[in-house]
């Protein structure tokens, strides 16, 4: 009797849409947050009071509860009173994330990047700080350019932490729920209905517990599969790096 629910779930075109949406979202998140985080880490000060100041500033978004993040951005992007929404509407651009799917995505991406890039930056910064000063001296003696230092010293030396950042950011963004739920509720239409939101809609909204249970099993297997792939990748990270 359970098999039908699996069949029903697997052939559900709305689930397929949600899955592709989810991959698009996670892909964009990684494409933006990884380079941006590394860039921020490279610009961060290495000594003096600026270190703690920038660390605290970066950590702030990470300290806010996820549903509060969504609420903050609802207000922030409101076309009538929100700082961001009102400002952009005053420029003559009709921006409303509740009406336009594109605007909803842009808002979500901004929120996500603001919320989680600091984690990547902090990890990358930790990786950078772990590089002995002697590497930079040796590069200076060799006459290496800033780009060469980044490409041949900093990047390979950060490979470990960056893989961990990639893993964390992929899994977190793939499982995202609270922020889009609060900000867009999955809309407009189904344009921001990600897997988790769709699952809750089936289970709690339509009370279709059978297909929802089958769906959550499949969801779990997808996450498990990717975690396994990333874990395998992580096992190979040590290669090509200094012990």
């Amino acid at each position: 009797m359970g098999a039908e629910w699996f069949k029903e779930t697997l052939t559900d075109s709305r689930l397929h849409d949600a899955l592709w949406r989810q991959f698009l979202f996670s892909g964009l998140v990684l494409l933006i947050e990884m380079p941006l985080g590394v860039g921020i880490a490279l610009l961060m000060p290495r000594k003096g009071w600026g270190v703690s100041a920038s660390l605290v500033t970066l950590a702030l978004p990470l300290l806010i509860p996820w549903n509060v993040i969504g609420t903050i951005w609802i207000i922030f992007t409101r076309p009538d009173i929100g700082l961001f929404g009102a400002a952009i509407n005053n420029l003559g651009i009709a921006f409303d994330h509740t009406a336009s799917p594109l605007h909803a995505w842009i808002t979500l991406m901004f929120m996500e990047v603001w919320h989680w890039t600091p984690l990547v930056a902090l990890l990358a910064y930790a990786g950078l700080r772990a590089i002995p000063e002697a590497y930079y001296q040796a590069a200076r003696i060799d006459g290496a350019s800033a780009w060469a230092i980044f490409r041949y010293i900093q990047l390979p030396k950060m490979r470990g932490v960056l893989t961990i950042a990639l893993l964390l950011r992929f899994m977190d963004s793939f499982l995202i729920y609270a922020e889009p739920f609060v900000l867009t509720g999955g809309g407009p239409g189904n344009s921001t209905t990600f897997l988790s939101i769709y699952l809750v809609k089936i289970a709690v909204g339509q009370f279709d517990l059978g297909p929802a249970a089958a769906f959550s099993l499949i969801y779990f297997l997808i996450v498990l599969l990717f975690s396994y792939l990333f874990f395998q990748a992580l096992q190979n990270v040590g290669k090509g790096e200094d012990r």
């Binding site: 002995p132 002697a134 590497y135 001296q137 040796a138 200076r140 003696i141 060799d142 006459g143 290496a144 060469a148 041949y152 010293i153 990047l155 390979p156 030396k157 040590g238 290669k239 090509g240 790096e241 200094d242 012990r243």
Partner: protein, 362 residues
Amino acid sequence: MTLSLESVSKTVGREVHIHEANLTFETGSRNVILGRTLAGKTTLLRLMAGLDRPTTGRILVNGEDVTGMSVRKRKVAMVYQQFINYPSMTVYDNIASPLKLSGTDKETIRKRVHETAEVLHLEPLLDRLPAELSGGQQQRTAIARALVKDAQLLLLDEPLVNLDYKLREELRIELQQIFQRREAVVVYTTTEPTEALMLGGDIVVVDEGRILQTGPTPEVYHNPATLKVAEVFSDPPINTIAGVIGEDAGAIGKDISIPLLGHLKNVSPGEYRFAIRSNHLFMARQGPEDAEIDVRVELSEISGSETYIHVRHHDTPLVIQDTGIKSHKIGAEISVFVHPERLYVYDLAGSLVASPAGRRPA
């Protein structure tokens, strides 16, 4: 080439890292900077390389002021305590990197890399990544990177300290041979007196940012100008014991009379500090003139094929370096012996008055 440091000092914040230093090095010379951890050895190297700007003073190359010149424009190579290689490049590319950056043509690079790799026995490893090498091979690669370009100044900052004993011995001998063929000023820092002695050449003894003594290494070893130099240049640190020189006899410790032999004859009567190297203290009488010191055993440690016995003569701690592995009962009352001609004599301010080698430093 002549490299000179003229009253060079380095202050970071309120901390003085190097007090006014004056040093001159010539091409073909091998120089060891000996000092304990944090003595300022690395800072001196960084100043020489041009990685740091001195707070005061000038750095001259062949009489020309290069104080503010960027390190890229100088012909410098440096090897570090950590094994510094580009992690994502093969051994070949690592060795080639300084040449590539200086725009050398491909054929010359190939030739030079192979030559250098051969000297350092890296030929079979050229395709590997640094992480696939042992510690010794990684440091060989780093040394090859330093040797491949014709640097006028070759700086090595405790290059062997992170290697195990066997490898260190092996590489030290090879390095000596490499240095001898090198047309460059070689400066090598170490914390180990034995290593300094093995490398030979000239020595600069540094402590707490001050240059204490310079000169040919054996010369300085036999005539440490101050007690501080003697301490830095002995492992375990040299023993000191209070004593007096009288008209026709002397005494050390608690009323242990010593005959005035050799260099002691010329020392004017008075109170002194006597220094004894741990390998000049013996567990058995070696001759009739030996002074017998009564001591109590406090600790006995075995290092390699030697035993260090820590003892106390009243308030004076002493260390004896005994050959072979021997065990000693802690608390035992024993006698140790030293020949008076082995004693270094220092005045109460710590300056050398007479040394067994018989020469007074200028």
